[in-house]
Symmetry: C2
Subunit: 327 residues, 2 copies
């Protein structure tokens, strides 16, 4: 990377809350160059003691639910009270399709011009794990830069919610009121991860349907195993257009946060998240080393053919390749 | 293992359909002794050309749905037409709790005395992957022994369904008719794996509720992405007590099977399953080698503490341990 700064320049700039240096530090973190990776880790380690105090909120929902509109309205509600807010994203599709979230800051135009808000699109390229690791480290930089609330947005499809759930304190699921098919559009596993459900676009002709959806979701949550810390996820409504319901959502998040801190769940959860993240990185690296090994790359295709055609048992093939890798 | 036989004795015994030798070959496969593992692989490889022609059916459902009762009634229906049926199980809980499935053959008492049926409880011990590998290999032995239908039973919770789905041709989900909460008891991901849903205990006072459940599930399936081979999963009812609905289920399975074979999906699916199984075994072995490495075992606990307490970043810890492992 050109114009690379010293460790001290990044550290001091981020700690001073300098936007330009924060952005450059994030760019450093996102760099694929090995020398940049080393520098990035040194910067992060110096900043680590200054991280961790923000409330980390994950937000997900299917395309069309109005995530950007919600985050813009919710973010403005928070900055209006003087809170500093950073909005990050994990979007594994950002390279593949134009339907990516936050590819375009103009979707949150008001918030992007707010001096108390900082919006950073999803890093692109690489595996979901790689993208997520960069977002996780970016979150730490934003905390060191003084942001008190971190919102991490993701799409409501695929594996990215699990990854976001693994790095936030509070996971918010946005849903649309529909015609009886509320539970269909999103994977049920995501419902079980949610610390709250918000029915968006609860305005005008949608209000009655939104109230019905609230009742349905409340019923559904009673059937789920209860949350480890005793929290029963509330089901709320909001209208980003009419600015309704936003402060209630924030009240629930702060209530959750104070209960989680008082009961020890907050610390336990953060520790667990750190550990799981380490093990995820280990697993990913072990697999990368294996599948990128020259001997494996050379033989894999032939062995796969033998297995596909039932000439070799999967166990024999796995054993053969693992022996090759070990040598 | 005492009284180990020669490769030829196992191979010839299994091919002759000798029950005693089949059981001893399965015991060999389930053995943890490395020398037995080697012998087991040699036996399997000789039998491999004689495997693959059975219809492989996975059956799951939450505890209480009546899996054993269903399999007993369904199995008797099949053996009555002269079909040879083997019933296997994957039960990752079999060591931990007494609520294990098939721990006790007496739960399928009639079927277990049927000369055309062979029932083998879940292997116990080890990881889900280890248990599943043994069941997978046992399935091959049963096919070589002439069984035309293999039923693999599992519990409707956790990861075991994914594993069973990965080794069968047809995946049957058993459900109970309930009071509007039909979709709640089982993870939605399992619904999406199902090739058919059967509402059990559709008799007496339950019949009306069962018919309502059929309509609900049929609606739900229309909302799912369609099956790769164009199959729309039917929703059926049955009563094991009254022996109703069993032949319709078998008709649907044979219809699916003939369509899948004609359209090429059957072969493609089997090939894909073999490949995925190989990669699963590779991943599991890589992780085992890592976590059982003496240096990792010695240091892991301390490093985990550093990560938990945010002294070290997960990436630094992962890198440190991976470097240690590589040396």
């Amino acid at each position: 990377m050109k114009n690379r700064l010293s460790i001290e320049a990044y550290v001091e700039g981020v700690l001073a809350g300098n936007r330009l240096l924060l952005s450059r530090a994030i760019t450093l973190i996102e760099s694929q160059l090995p020398s940049d990776r080393v520098l990035a880790q040194l910067v992060l380690e110096q900043l680590l003691p200054h991280t961790g105090s923000a409330i980390r909120i994950g937000i997900t929902g299917v395309p069309g639910v109005g995530k950007s509109t919600f985050i813009e309205a919710f973010g403005k509600e928070l900055t209006a009270t003087g809170k500093k807010l950073a909005v990050l994203a994990i979007d594994p599709t950002s390279q593949r399709s134009k339907g990516s979230i936050m590819g375009d800051k103009t979707r949150m135009e008001e918030l992007s011009h707010d001096p108390l808000a900082y919006i950073r699109p999803s890093p692109s390229g690489g595996s979901l794990g790689g993208v997520a690791n960069k977002t996780r480290e970016t979150m730490l930089l934003c905390e060191a830069a003084g942001f008190e609330i971190i919102v991490i947005e993701t799409v409501g499809v695929g594996q990215s919610e699990t990854v976001v759930k693994g790095m936030v304190d509070f996971f918010l699921l946005l849903m649309l009121a529909g015609a009886g098919d509320e539970l269909q559009g999103i994977k049920k596993g995501i419902m079980e991860m949610a610390d709250a459900v918000v029915i968006t676009k609860a305005d005008g002709a949608n209000q009655a349907a939104a109230q019905r959806a609230v009742a349905e979701y409340q019923n559904a949550f009673h059937l789920f195993p209860s949350h480890e810390n005793g929290w029963l996820p509330p089901v709320l409504t909001c209208s980003a257009v009419e600015k309704k319901g936003l402060s209630e959502i924030w009240s629930q998040i702060t209530l959750f946060d104070s209960q989680a801190k008082a009961g020890g769940f907050h610390l336990k959860n953060r520790q667990q998240q750190n550990l799981e993240w380490m093990h995820t990185l280990i697993r990913q690296t072990l697999e990368e080393r294996f599948y990128h090994h020259p001997q494996i790359r050379e033989k894999l295709h032939d062995i796969e053919r033998l297995v596909q055609n039932e000439k070799w048992l999967p166990l024999r093939a796995a054993t053969f390749l693992l022996d090759l890798f070990r040598q």
